[in-house]
Amino acid sequence: MTNTPIDRLARATPPDMAKKVRGLSDRAIAWIFVAPTIFLLLAINIFPLIWTVRLSFTNYAANRPNREVEFVGLRNYIRILTDDGIWANMQTTAHFLIWTIVLQVVIGFSLAWLINRKFKGNDLLTTLIVLPMMLSPAVVGNFWTFLYQPQIGLINYVVELFTGIPASSFSMLGPGGLAKWSIIIVDTWMWTPFVMLICLAGLRSIPDYIYEAAEIDRASKWRQFWTITVPMVLPFLMLAVLFRGIENFKMFDMVVLLTGGGPGNETLLASIDLKREAFEKWRTGYSSAYAIILFVTVFGLASIYVKALNKVKER
């Protein structure tokens, strides 16, 4: 008789239980293993989602749990989708989204293009470039707040050094229209390495023989770039754009730490406004409808993302 752990476990199992387990089909055993995960998924993801959908049709306020909850139909949705203020927040989100994606794609692709060439110190440079995206958004938000300080901040000092504009005469995070661009700069600094890494994966997936064939056909470098490199990296680039689009649509922590949505409502992204409605104004039903609108948008974008991901996998 062997004495492996499985044998010892089998001998230690009471005969009644062993009989029951032997009677279970493979499918039943599989369900037993999967059941805890499904239960957790239902409890943590699906149930709150269904509950939020239910709340979005009511006037429920979480800070007044004893108040009678009224069913208000589509009123919350109609109010949100006809509100000029929320529309302006969506435009602020769009401004943030478009500019961060444009800058990250242009700079990320350029860096990947450079890093893809073999030169001394290539690996060290890649590691240094990738460092910002490994930091916590909370850390990034805090130290950029210091960098943007009008009196002691490095950014204002550098601007004064190169332009002569007094450092204390402007504030990157204050009124004057610079705050919108300040958060774009920080997000670009943090997440360009991510886009670079995806582009690098795309560039390295292009076989050398395609370029060799192009060389034989006497195609110029410029033509090789537009007819080989760009089309073959495009699916990877699409992936990066979608991923950053989804992430930035939900952007919250870093912007809260940098500007808190201000000055005024200048950097009030939809996610920050939603948090205010839900946990400062305590309009739970209304904010549930707001959350569902954002959720459907992100879910739709995520569906496209998964489709793009599958296309890349098929290559």
Partner: protein
């Protein structure tokens, strides 16, 4: 274009997914554009239709 329409008529996954993707993208653009309030108002419905269509049509045959 004709293969796209044929795909729609025959309930093929590719064509219907492309349509759903276009609707989602249109909905997101409508949600964030700064020009027409009516487009913002209807954006959620367009995105919702596109998303539900995407979920349903991803089960269509290739």
């Amino acid at each position: 274009m004709s293969s796209f329409l044929t795909g729609l008529a025959r309930f093929r996954r590719g064509s219907w997914e492309a349509l759903a993707t276009a609707l989602i993208a249109l909905g997101v653009v409508m949600l964030m554009q700064p020009f027409f309030l009516w487009a913002y108002t209807w954006s959620f419905l367009v995105t919702l239709v596109g998303t539900v269509m995407f979920i349903v049509t991803s089960h269509f045959p290739d």
